[in-house]
């Protein structure tokens, strides 16, 4: 997993609530048995004018000029600004894989769906919950200034705007530790192998039918 410490990134706004994981990566791309290469199909149905299928040469497809991420000013964006309940729906981890492969490292929204939120941290993506009025202020600022950037410091848990405003954010200590060090959970959990084994023995003795 990629480490995340500090990012100064271009911001792209996605001004709609309940952006679901079917929209982030449509089902036909879930047939892949790999975990990479989903970026060109992120938001496929909104992003292209034709119907996308696996195996197509996406560089030859016609882009939808009305889709926000296709605008010239948002090319190279690494910070996605979103609305309530971002990532709702299916548990597909292909959604954070697609966002990360597209180039995003941070998503800022008033709320996220639980499974998506969790999946982000396993893939070097930092989802940040920020109060609605603050997200709203960021939407307005990003609309006003072409090239609007934010600095996100995970160590200090701070977002800094170009005019020096600072927004603090919360993150679980465990998730922060894993993200800053680029650690995956399995190795960490297996350090507690003996605890798991002794729990399992007691659990099976109490419920022998399991």
């Amino acid at each position: 997993m990629n480490k995340f410490t500090l990012l100064d990134g271009l911001v792209a706004p996605m001004d709609r609530a309940n952006v679901d994981t079917d929209a982030i990566i449509p089902k036909q791309f879930l047939k892949s048995i790999k975990r990479s290469g989903f970026g060109p199909n992120a938001f496929d149905e909104w992003r292209y004018l034709d119907h996308g299928e696996p195996g197509m040469d996406n560089s030859k497809r016609q882009l939808n000029p009305d889709f926000v991420l296709n605008q010239a000013r948002y090319q190279g964006a690494q910070v996605l600004l979103a609305r309530e309940n971002f990532g709702c729906g299916s548990s597909r981890e292909h959604a954070p894989w697609a966002l990360e492969d597209y180039g995003f490292r941070v998503i800022i929204a008033p709320s996220f769906a639980d499974i998506f939120f969790n999946n982000c941290f396993k893939n070097g993506l930092l989802p940040i919950r920020l109060a609605e009025d603050k997200v709203d202020a960021l939407f307005k600022a990003a609309a006003k200034a072409v090239g609007y950037r934010l600095t996100i410091d995970l160590e200090k848990q701070l977002i800094t705007t170009p005019d020096g405003q600072r927004y603090a954010f919360e993150v679980d200590a465990h998730r922060k530790y894993c993200l800053i060090n680029g650690l995956d959970d399995i190795g960490l959990t297996l350090k507690h192998k003996d605890d798991i084994k002794s729990f399992e023995a007691k659990h099976r003795a109490a419920q022998p039918w399991l």
């Binding site: 001004d15 079917d22 047939k31 149905e45 696996p54 299916s90 597909r92 679980d172």
Partner: protein, 467 residues
């Protein structure tokens, strides 16, 4: 005395250890696996030279990609076929029980698991699928996980998790004629919104819920995720035990009695504290129909398509306008005037035997309307299909002009060939009406099996409670 909720009991009985920040290791009893979210996890195990901690805790089935017609001919799409073959190969390599595509026990993973007795009260159940909340109907702690977590559970038998807040959704009174668990679920989502349950584990309680069958309880818990809650659950009781008794994976003999004694403790204690309480009166719930592109965009069948002018805020107004444009609907139009092109009866939400019976009862002796191009019934599993055929339900559907298919996820998410074409409108018993969910440009209206069958016959939505 210390009172506990059902969720407290399930959480505490699986707690391996807790870190100072509240991050915990939770032991997992049952890990269900399907072909879409597992290949990368198995590959991860291989790359790290790890093996599953407990292969016997795992049970696998292909469901998302399988065809619902001409199954003996195999899967035509080579990419889908490879994904199913990869599951077969992985289960073979790691010694995991799998019900393969042509096994009669094959079906949608959340129909198959309970049917086999693989989901038991008091268990923790996970699967790389958000509708794992279904299994909470048995008094289990069950929720969907991502592929990294699938690999984590395979390798360690544990999940890294933080305890959620608790919500009690209490439904009281007697349901009206023609109103089902699906309508309760949609009414709850309409009330609290698709983010209303975010951060919560929901327990469904109240005398209405206690009176529901296991199939109906599964429908209700299945939709907890559409309210934003990873887990939905219902206390175990005699209905639960009667359903489980004699099923292949359920305990037998003396162990059955021992298990039931323990399972009887799996309910929230009198006076247990919940962080949030939501109350519904069963008599107030009418058959529900979604009109938009999120399950919270729902009204009663006798209602009107909402007007964005009346949206509570600017963000919602924009969402409603976009939804109406996508759905091709006008504000203030009566729901009963919406004509449909296709009907889908099936899925992990409504693909069980009771759902088949309910839809067949409405369709019996009638004909699918001329404007309905396709009405398909997809049983949730091979065993549901066999049972339905034994009861003659297939003949009722076929005589009425429905197609009677083989089991799988089918047009709930349209990963196989069953899908809507752009602009087509579908009355669907599935769980998500997102843009493109049933096929790019497809328009989904979520309803109960009774309502879907009635819409197929009428060609538009009708109030099944008045039939």
């Amino acid at each position: 005395m210390n009172t506990q909720t059902l969720y407290d009991k399930l959480w505490n009985s699986h707690l391996v250890r807790t870190e100072p920040d509240g991050t915990a290791l939770i032991y997992i009893d049952r890990h269900l696996v399907h072909e879409v979210t597992s290949p990368q996890a198995f590959e991860g195990l291989r790359l790290a030279q790890r093996k599953p901690w407990s292969p016997i805790s795992m049970l696998a089935v292909p469901d998302h990609n399988v065809p619902t017609t001409k199954r003996s001919g195999g899967i035509a799409d080579p990419i889908s076929r490879l994904q199913v073959e990869t599951l077969d190969a992985n289960c073979n390599e790691f010694g995991i029980t799998e019900f393969k595509m042509n096994d009669i026990r094959q079906g949608v993973v959340h129909v198959m698991g309970p049917e086999q007795g693989a989901t038991l009260p008091g268990m923790t159940v996970v699967c790389g699928d958000s509708h794992t909340s279904t299994h909470g109907a048995f008094g289990a702690l069950a929720h969907g996980i991502g592929t990294s977590e699938v690999e984590h559970v395979m390798a360690t038998q544990c999940l890294v998790a933080k305890k959620s807040k608790s919500m009690l959704v209490k439904v009281s009174g007697v349901l009206r004629n023609g109103v089902t668990a699906k309508d309760i679920a949609l009414a709850v989502i309409g009330k609290i919104g698709t983010a209303g349950g975010t951060g919560y584990a929901i327990e469904f309680g109240g005398d209405t819920v206690r009176a529901l069958s296991m199939e109906a309880r599964m429908t209700l818990c299945n939709m907890a995720i559409e309210a934003g809650a990873r887990a939905g659950m219902i206390a175990a009781d005699d209905t639960t035990f009667a359903y489980l008794k004699g099923r292949p994976f359920a305990p037998h003999g003396a162990q059955w009695d021992q298990a039931v004694t323990y399972w009887r403790t799996l309910h929230s204690d009198e006076g247990a504290k919940f962080d949030t309480l939501v109350e519904l009166n069963a008599a107030d719930i009418k058959p529900q129909v979604t009109w938009g592109t999120s399950p919270e965009m729902v009204v009663a069948v006798d209602g009107l398509v909402p007007d964005p002018e009346n949206a509570p805020d600017a963000v919602k107004r924009g969402d409603w306008e976009r939804a109406l444009a996508y759905m091709g609907l006008q504000a203030n139009m009566p729901i009963e005037q919406i004509k449909i092109d296709k009907v889908f009866i099936g899925s992990c939400t409504n693909g069980r035997i009771e759902d088949m019976r309910a839809a067949a009862a409405v369709a019996k002796g009638k004909k699918v309307a001329g404007n309905v191009m396709l009405a398909m019934v997809v049983p949730g599993s091979g065993l549901v299909k066999a049972q339905a055929e034994q009861e003659g339900l297939d003949k009722i559907f076929i005589a009425a002009g429905f197609e009677w298919r083989d089991p799988g996820c089918s047009m709930c998410l349209a990963m196989n060939d069953d899908r809507l074409s752009p602009g087509e409108r579908c009355a669907s018993t599935s769980n998500r009406n997102f843009e493109g969910r049933q096929g790019q440009g497809g328009r989904t209206h979520l309803v109960s099996p009774e309502m879907a069958a009635a819409a197929a016959i009428a060609g538009h939505f009708v109030d099944v409670s008045k039939l």
